[in-house]
Subunit: 366 residues, 2 copies
């Protein structure tokens, strides 16, 4: 599949006015880096806005410029695929606070130095606000659907709850309406690992920065993306390129080698301060709290059609979280379908080959 068939466009928008933030500030000169594929139809009614997860970016399809690997949802987005670029104009933007072109802590502040920890703490709603501004700039009033998994699902919820007139439908996969104590705890471990690395320097690192701390953060988080059963199937207690334990501290076990690789490779493509800011935004996310404490009130009077998907082996955002959202949508009288899919891969299932998910997405897009 060539880029031409997909009609991939990578571009950056500079927002014309300062972006108001939930923290009370307004951020001037915000850049939103985004990718589109497919073709916007004449009445601009065929747009699908995808939201990416914590460690991903706008490169849904095509070749990722840093890793050289296919985009994160290349298996599902393209001509004739589940999200058919022959029908839909797919948009995905790097989140505010990110490190792939959108304004984030590595961006230059007006004084010409990187924001670093002077970057304002942002929220999921702030990320969405930047993407609503992108739709404005593209002249798209209402999208066919917003779709996201994990942190992308939080954005889809936030978009549909706060800008319900801007989408026909919202598909929320493997996500949650609020971060739990355990979710916050895992993120806090990652942040402390980064901040404990002397190369972090209070955020004012040049170049690579706290790679060791960021790798540890990624390793801890990565465990939460896999199911215990999936790890057992994939690794068990298998040894890495050896027939006997070494009685040392090398990566004797395959799972150790795998995690070390996940940690190290992550530091090649991700900014440590972005990791701090994005995890903070996720921890702050509580859609009910934003709407007076009752989740159903976030959806009052909505005309958005919702679809919720969870995975039975996801212990990061387990099915009970999606069920809670479904109950709130029911209480609000919203149109909602909810399905728990069986897949062995844990939270990461939403990115992997789960045919049942494809059927749900295709059916929902209609």
């Amino acid at each position: 599949m060539s880029g031409a068939d997909l009609n991939i466009v990578n571009d950056t928008l500079v927002l014309p006015v300062p972006l108001p933030l939930d923290g009370g500030q307004a951020l001037a000169g915000v850049e939103v880096a985004y990718q589109t594929c497919g073709t916007l139809n004449a009445d601009k009614s065929n747009a699908v806005l995808l939201f990416h997860a914590l460690t991903m970016d706008q490169h849904v399809v095509g070749t990722h410029p840093k890793t050289g690997k296919p985009g994160w949802w290349a298996k599902s987005v393209g001509p004739g695929k589940v999200i058919d670029t022959g029908r839909y104009f797919v948009i995905c933007a790097n989140v505010l606070g990110g490190c792939m072109g959108s304004t984030g802590p590595a961006s230059l502040a007006p004084d010409g130095r990187p924001y670093a920890m002077r970057f304002p703490v942002i929220t999921i709603r702030d990320m969405v606000r930047a993407q609503v501004a992108l739709l404005d700039a593209l002249g798209i009033g209402r999208v066919h659907a917003v779709i996201g998994g994990s942190m992308g699902g939080m954005q889809a919820l936030s978009f549909a709850a706060n800008w319900p007139e801007r989408t026909r439908a919202a598909l929320v996969i493997a996500s949650t309406a609020r971060h739990s104590a355990q979710n916050i705890a895992f993120h806090e471990v990652g942040r402390q690992a980064i901040m404990a690395d002397p190369k972090w320097k209070g955020g004012d690192y040049g170049g690579k920065g706290p790679e060791n701390g960021l790798a540890v953060a990624r390793m801890a988080a990565h465990i939460t993306y896999l199911s215990e059963e999936g790890m057992h199937e994939k690794f068990g207690r298998k040894l890495q390129d050896r027939s006997e334990k070494t009685f040392g501290f090398d990566a004797d076990f395959q799972v150790e080698s795998y995690l070390r690789h996940q940690g190290l490779s992550f530091t090649d493509r991700f900014d440590a301060n972005s990791y701090l800011y994005i995890t903070r935004a996720m921890d702050y996310f509580d859609l009910a709290e934003e709407h007076g404490g009752r989740l159903a009130d976030a959806f009052a009077g909505t005309s958005v059609r919702y679809c919720l998907v969870s995975f039975d082996t996801d212990w990061l955002y387990p099915t009970s979280e999606s069920r809670g959202i479904a109950h709130a949508l029911n209480a609000a009288g919203a149109a909602v379908s909810f399905v728990e899919l069986s897949a062995p891969f844990g939270h990461d299932s939403f990115l992997l080959d789960v045919p049942a998910q494809d059927r749900v997405i295709a059916g929902f897009l209609g």
Copy 2:
């Protein structure tokens, strides 16, 4: 309850001969620091050997010399308590590789410098071997029971499987016969956090050492000791001493503050290299592998009475692990009782107030 009533004795044994290790070496001059309470009867038949978990030590009762807090099982061990020191002579030794008096990486090697990473990688069976030598030195042929939770349960299993003639019974709580891929993964995150800290210096730190790395390791591990539900009950999304989120990176949430405290306080009482060695021993533990690959063969012909206890909210060593051990014991024709208890605290339940556990222990000791 005064120390006199408990008859607490803290002592250290120097093993008279080198201790053979599973890694092939023999370690000379091994010291085993231990605590006893109660009184050994005339025929030395009333001893109960307790094994401690990863971050604990021989201070089962009395006041811990470093923390000033009660011993880790003071609620269950004492005159008239579940493990009644009026009847039993209770022994608990700091594990080989530990940092509370038994020989470990902080101990001086024959060249007068700390072993640090020159300390041999040890196994759970090596820890037990040192404690069998302690029983030899105390003139105790056969104990009434061995008891342990978590890593203590691994030692209890190893003791009963490898020295079945030395105990009448084995009580294994919240434990496993082998570390899973996920168990190994969490430990590997902790080790990498320690080794990534520049103050670790390849293990050759003087004094405090890699406190930041050790704190991160402890934080990551601590999450696995609690249940998601328990964390939700205890912390939820409650804020710490503030009414609003600060839009910063302070510990806004109580769970963050709690975890930071857990991490920091741990560094006051634990040695980072010990943490590396003990977690490695746990990861290496696979009782079946030691016995030809079939767990039942570890228990062939045993006369030891086993009791297994798991907790329904323990996701570190879930009930399925204990069930697997029970099945192997059944296959070996051993006497075994197995109970899953309901308790909200996750893995840590074995240390907390769970009356049903008290009843099981009291009933099993007879």
